[in-house]
Symmetry: C2
Subunit: 334 residues, 2 copies
DNA sequence: TTGTAGGCGTTATCAA
DNA sequence: TTGATAACGCCTACAA
């Protein structure tokens, strides 16, 4: 690898002159700059960002931790993050925890060791020393679509209570009384919030769901399918299911198909997120839309401006989702 | 940030002793090791990987460049890469080019400046100096589901000719004669290969497609929908469309719906990749399956073993895809 | 306008 | 078993 010393030797100046020329310092004469640049190009010089970051104390990189990159919701957040980061000259190190809490913690530690300038976190966390340490540290970070119980952090999230209320009230308005819920892992706050609101809204309408109609799954299609199959095989089965995200909802759709139930005639389904596949013609999933791409952008904007010291306060941004009624919900058949 | 010097001072030993203790060198006494470790933990020490990488000449990180992370095909590759990288203690820096050739080149340069130990590239590239430079360099890299015209590189890819032949012959066997093709951007080799084979197979069967039945789009649902709408609005329209990937195919499905055409009665559709959404009950897309996750794993395995000097030769791995016949293809209606 | 020297946080070599 | 010392490649006072 060619270094500034090589260039210096070749051009016949000192390394510091090369360094300055390369970073376009006004102190350097036009002539030397040109010579330095041509030699640099000629030798195929690429500046060592590791060394640079070490001395500048800043790596121009941010870390992004997601639980499942194959979920379009997180892929869209990642796209938003990348878009803004790229515009500001920042790199993004993306880590996929595959829904493992432990891996999430490992990645957070790894990213901090790599001295990223900031962190965007979309996965749940146990009340763990690593989290405490992160909060206590100087590394700025922000949560997206996620809250950590009992820990004060900046965040960009959707209003899960509002969204869940829209979903459940829609089902009730259609006349459903037997409404099930399939949530994500218990550690995920947003899933819990949606569940809580589901319970509250039902209660407000004088409906008490059977406990077998409330299930937790992983946030995957397969888990949704299994949970759905089980719930729909009960002797008294719900006429509608509210799923904590679209991926689960699509799994439930599969389960219905497996059991020969027709949607929405025999079963209404509402998802959450409005991933792009939810609007496919044959799918037409009724769901609660969240602006994932936007959330990624907002979080990154805040993070980068915080990194560069234009410290706006803690960001607490709650975006209102909205219900998109498509074709997987209808009146329950009598 | 606390450094080994801080620990050294606290424990009352030299920084080198701390360094050795922390990396569990056999030279250090058990007693000192323990003292060092407890003080390190107590002070919340996190080793600076930047400094470490600088002296070791290796960052334990690999770069991954993808054209579109929201395409489940690439998300799955990314998952495979992450899985293996993680197992070997490597980090992954993921860069999303948003289908821009230029951004792709920028990212490759950026990753090299960050001194990643290796590169996994899934995007197309113009015959560019950056590519030449990469090939001439010591940085190991491998292409996944991609070939660079006229440049000799390691790669893991699917057999696009074989896959496309399965697809087109399936349509011909069903009795189709008016078969269209919607490809990705012209710079993408795999898309071109599929197109070439499409032409060849038709020709072999004595069929000459109208030129309006061959279109290029971006590898996105929206582009597929638009291209599909245009093609299906022709006065003489194809009875079947072979799309260069599933995302485009889903767009074509939307287009058909838009125009009131029923699939597969009025139009058969074959995709490519078999992303997870292709098998949804209501979609049931006939497609050519490629093992994306596997491809990511294979590439990363090779890359890391090459990095660590167990240099197997250039990897040229071609995986055979297979046709999955579902419900978007049938005999053309008379 | 340029050069010298010191330091960023590690690891590695050589002595002790 | 431990400690100095010199790198790694770059940046930046301070001097010239």
């Amino acid at each position: 690898m060619v270094t500034i010393k090589d260039i210096a030797r070749e051009v016949g100046v000192s390394p510091s002159t090369v360094s300055r020329a390369l970073s376009n310092s006004p102190l350097i004469s036009q002539a030397t700059k040109e010579r330095v640049h041509t030699v640099a190009k000629q030798l195929g010089y690429e500046r060592n960002e590791l060394a640079r970051a070490l001395v500048k104390g800043s790596s121009e990189a941010i870390g992004l931790v997601v639980p499942d990159i194959t979920n379009p919701f997180f892929a869209d957040i990642a796209r938003g993050v990348g878009e803004v980061a790229h515009a500001f000259g920042y790199g993004v190190i993306l880590c996929n925890t595959a829904e493992s809490l432990e891996r999430g913690l490992n990645y957070i530690r790894l990213l901090r060791r790599k001295r990223v300038d900031g962190l965007i976190i979309t996965n749940a966390i146990r009340n763990d020393p690593v989290a405490k340490q992160l909060v206590g540290s100087k590394t700025p970070f922000i949560l997206v679509s996620q809250l950590w119980e009992g820990i004060e952090t900046p965040y960009v999230t959707g209003d899960d209570h509002y969204g869940a209320r829209q979903a459940v009230e829609h089902l009730i308005a259609l006349g459903h009384k037997r409404i099930g819920f399939i949530g994500g892992p218990a550690a995920v706050q947003s899933s819990n919030d949606r569940m809580q609101t589901y319970r509250n809204v039902l209660q407000k309408h004088g409906i008490t769901p059977q406990e077998e109609w409330i299930r937790y799954a992983d946030f995957t299609q397969r888990a949704g399918r299994e949970a759905g199959r089980r719930m729909l095989s009960l002797t008294v089965r719900p006429t509608a299911i509210f799923a904590a995200n679209d991926v689960i909802a699509l799994g439930v759709l599969e389960a219905a198909e497996d059991l020969g139930l027709s949607v929405p005639k025999d079963l209404s389904i509402v998802g959450y997120d409005d991933i792009s596949y939810a609007s496919l013609p044959r799918i037409q999933l009724t769901t609660v839309a969240q602006p994932a791409f936007e959330m990624g952008k907002i979080a990154t904007d805040w993070l980068i401006s915080t990194i560069s010291g234009q410290g706006r306060d803690f960001l607490h941004r709650v975006l209102k989702p909205h219900l998109v009624v498509r074709c997987t919900t209808s009146k329950p058949s009598p």
